[in-house]
Every structure is written in C-alpha cells, then in structure tokens.
Amino acid sequence: MKDFDISLNDLKQLTKWVKESSDIRELSLSYNGLELFISRNESTQRSVSSDAAGTPVTTAPAPSKQEQPELNKPTIAPTASKSSPTADVSVAENEHLITAPMVGTFYMSPKPGAPAFVEIGQQVEPKSVVCIIEVMKLMNNLEAKVNGRVKEIYVEDQQPVEYGQPIMLIEKE
C-alpha cells in the first residue's frame, strides 16, 4: 500500500461524510501515527493512546445498555452453552488456554472499530493485553501471561462470555 498524507481538508470531508451517514454511530481510524475517533454517543468518553503498541487505558468503550437499548441490546445467549464451557477445546502441553475469569462481554479492541489487540499469528508477551472483558461497565484487561503466538480466538467481538469460557489459545514459545 502506498503512503500518502492526510490533509485537514480530507479530515473535514470524512467528518462530514460520517455526519451525514446516519448508519454510522462511531468511527475510529488509525493511520501513520494519526488517530481519529468520531462518535455520536454523547456519554462515550475515551482516552487516546498515541502509542499503538502501548497498553491502552480504556474507559468505557462499550455502549451501555441504557445508552443504546435498540442498537446494542444483545440477544439472549445463543452462545450460552448447556455443557461445560471448556468441553470442546483441547489444549496441548505447549499451549496456554485463556479463559474468561468472569462472566461479561468480550471486546477484541480497546474501542469500537479500533484495531484488535491481537490477531491470529501475532506474537505476545506475558504482559501483552489480548482482550477486554466488561463486567458491569468495568473494563478488565486480560493478559497473555505467556510468551508465544496467538493460535486460536474462540469468541467474537462484543459477544457475551460465561465464566470459564475459552477465549484464546496461545502457542507457547
């Protein structure tokens, strides 16, 4: 992909386009050291981290139930399992399974639309944040805990997760 600079005019155009597109509630863009975030959700607050590799400080990226009752009301538990949440995941000796330490909502990225914390194949360190679990509007960062590479991601962004549900498999290195 060829590099090109974004002018202020481009940003204005982009903002105008978002403003006119009623089906966009939030937009997040990260490009060449520039970060842009546009939201219609008035109560949504966030802090922007300029260092993409750093651990982001997250403040309520999740649209809460009261703010967006229609848009984001989750449907009931199509994913809630009736057997053990860990039933169909096998973990080899050189692998580390990350499970949900609490019941809540899973987020792949520090804020909606932003790049995911990790992708399959990505290298992680013990302190690497791999996802967020929201518990009663509190954002809990989950860390990889081991050195390795992301092998599997079992859940989708914004999906409700049960206690003990497999989230990610890390191949240890």
Binding site: A80, T105, P160, Y163
Partner: protein, 452 residues
Amino acid sequence: MLNKIKSVMIANRGEISLRIIRACQELGVKSVAIYSEADKDTLPVKLADSAVCIGPAPAQASYQNQEAIISAALAFGVDAIHPGYGFLSEKADFAKKCEDNGIIFIGPSADIISKMGDKIEARKIADSASVPTIPGSDGAVTEFKKALEIAESIGFPLLIKASAGGGGRGMRVVESRDTLEQDLNEIMSEAEVAFGDSSVYIEKYLTDIRHIEVQLLADGDSCIHLGERDCTAQRRNQKLVEEAPSPALSTSQRNDLCQSAVRLAKKVKYKSAGTVEYVYDNIDKQFYFIEMNTRVQVEHPVSEMITGIDIIKEQIKIADNQVLNIKQEDIVLSGHAIECRLNAEDPENGFSPCPGTISYYRPPGGFGIRMDSHLESGYTIPPYYDSMIGKLICWGADRNEAIIRMTRALSEMKVEGVKTTAKFHSKLINSEQFKSGNFNTVFVASLLEKQH
C-alpha cells in the same frame, strides 16, 4: 401475557430454580439459568431456555456474587432477575444494583427489603399497623429504673437481651420477680464490660410456641392473603414439615391473623409475594409478629395446594407491573396440604449431610402428590450448598388424608446412593403428637430424644 418482562434470569440453583423455570415456561417468558461449575449437569441447566456459567463452585464466588450475576444479566440481555430464596433474595443492595442497571428485580424494592429486614424498624411498622408484637420494651433501654419498670409491667418469665449482644451472647431468662433486680443489674454491667454498651431489650419469654406465617400477594395497592402455614415442626430452627391450614387456629383466629398480615403489607405499600411470620403462644392463645420475609419461601407450595394459586407466576406478573386480578373473595381454602423437606442427611448420625451420587431415583406419584425436586438418577449432590434434595407436598381432603397420603408417598419414593430424611419424616408425621395437631417448636427435639 407479560408486558415488559420477556426474559428472566434465575439467580439460584436446585429445586427453586426449576420451580421458577417452570413458571416462566408457562408464562411464555424466556428463562436463563445461571450455574456454578459444580452445577453444570443439573436439571435447571438442562431445562432452562439457556444457561450461563457465572463462577466456580463456592457460593460466594457464584450464587452470592452480585457483580457476576448483574454482569451476566447485562451481557446476556435479560429483562428481569428472580432471586428465589436464600442467596441474594433479601439483599437490599442487590435489588438496588438491579434497579440501577435497568434490570427488574422480581421482589419488592430495595427500600422495602431493607426496612423489613431491620427487626427494630419492622417491629415499629407492625406496631403502627396494629399488628400484635411480643410484649416488651420499645427499643433499647439504658436506665436501670426504666428497665425494672418495664419488666414488672410485662410479667414473667422474661427475656433480657443486651442490645449489643447477639448469637446467644448477653441473653438471660428471668423466671420471677425475686431475682429480677439482681439479674438486670448483672446483665447490664456485663454488657457494659463486654460491649461497652449497657442498654438492653426486654421482652416476654415465650416457652410453648408454634410458628405460623401468612402468605401474601400484593401489587403495591391491593393485597390479598392465601391463608396461613404452620411450620412448628422444626429441628434447631430448621423447618422440617410445614402444613396448611394450621391445626391450632380457629376460624376467627385465622381471620384475625391474616387480616393483621394484610394490614402490615398495606402499611408499607408492599409489592410482590411476601410472608409475615408470627409466633403463636399455645398458653395465652395469642399470636405475635416476628418478621416479614420479603421473598418467596421454601414452603410456598403448601399454600398453592390449598388455594390453587401459582404464587411464582403471580409474583412475576406483579414485577411486570400488572394489577393483581385475584380478589380476596376468590380465595377458597380447600382441604389440607403437608410438605416434607427432604434432605440428604443421616438422621441416625445427628443429621450430618450426605453429599454423593444418586444411583437410583424413583419419584412418588398419584393423586394429590407434588414432588418439587431437581433430582435425577446419576445426579451428584455437591458438598458446597445446602442438603435439601427436594420437597414432597401432599394434598388431602382433610389433615388425616394428607398424613396418610404423605406416608404412602414417602414409602413409594426411592433415593439410593445417599442417606435421606424420608424415613424420619414418616415417623414424625405418624407420631401421636403430630397426628393430634397439638404440639410446639420443641416437639421434634423431644421426639428424637425418645428414640435414643
């Protein structure tokens, strides 16, 4: 059938979880069971529309973990939470958290729960609603002379309790006027030394009592009663057998008792199902308010069997903001119902709990039998929670038929692999004293003593 509530999360386990799931199914409401890791293969998890694991086995980390349950309700998008009994059912702060997060708590408001949960506050409300309370001091008494005055006006025997005491500490029974001054002096100075507070409560000491309670349904405006339940057959304050109607009350006493419970509920604009508990003094034939339970109770089926009213469904409809469409005159008490609480305990060995695997289970059946249980063959009773494995409820045209039917059902039922209290229950309800209907709260203890 329901307006706002389309889905209910059941914040409980075992038979009551199943009871609520069944009510939801009949109301056309989605049921979401929660479960701990120890309960993943249980009947409620299998029968609910969906189920969510909320934590590890210990109750503090799962069924009593308010954050986990609210988080599950929000993440999985339910409209309401039914707390069942025990666990979080009477925690005002949990009801408040539900309210704050836009989840309907199926029960009264946090405000009512905390008001009625405060014994002194509840007694004041009862007094103001002309509900009889045990004769005694209005709150704590700090002055010796005042305490003496109150004590003399109540009569003997008396119970003196240090305000700051509890769990049996700082309590004394005064048998007669002779020792009153000395006893009072001692207990007040002991309390001063032990708790830094010499104030005491004084009340009439009741020695020959029954435990009787009134089932209510209230929508915040109107309130009806479903008659009383008699829970006198207890062991160490644990109810073993409950029945309705009480064999001790006359029609006019029943009427007075139930009316007083309705007055209390109306006084606080109570909204939900609830129970007002009383002690009934066999000696002076009077009933006295002790507390209000702001939840559904273990023994609620007894009232359902003699009235035909589904208390859980009515409770959910009230939480859905519907007006109670049953009138007091619609309630007809019919026949007699008895409930035995079956526990996985060994009556031969001090009722010690017997967790383990049920190798075979055959439920009892037939006319007038209701078995509320989460048991199945192969089910393993976990050691983390209480030992109740189910409730056997029998209806009969009269008390005698109910006893005979219960005896028949208890012998028909088979639970193999663990020890249960079934045989003990059979002995209990067939004892001369139980059959006579004439007994008090120490009757089970004396029955056990006779056996050994």
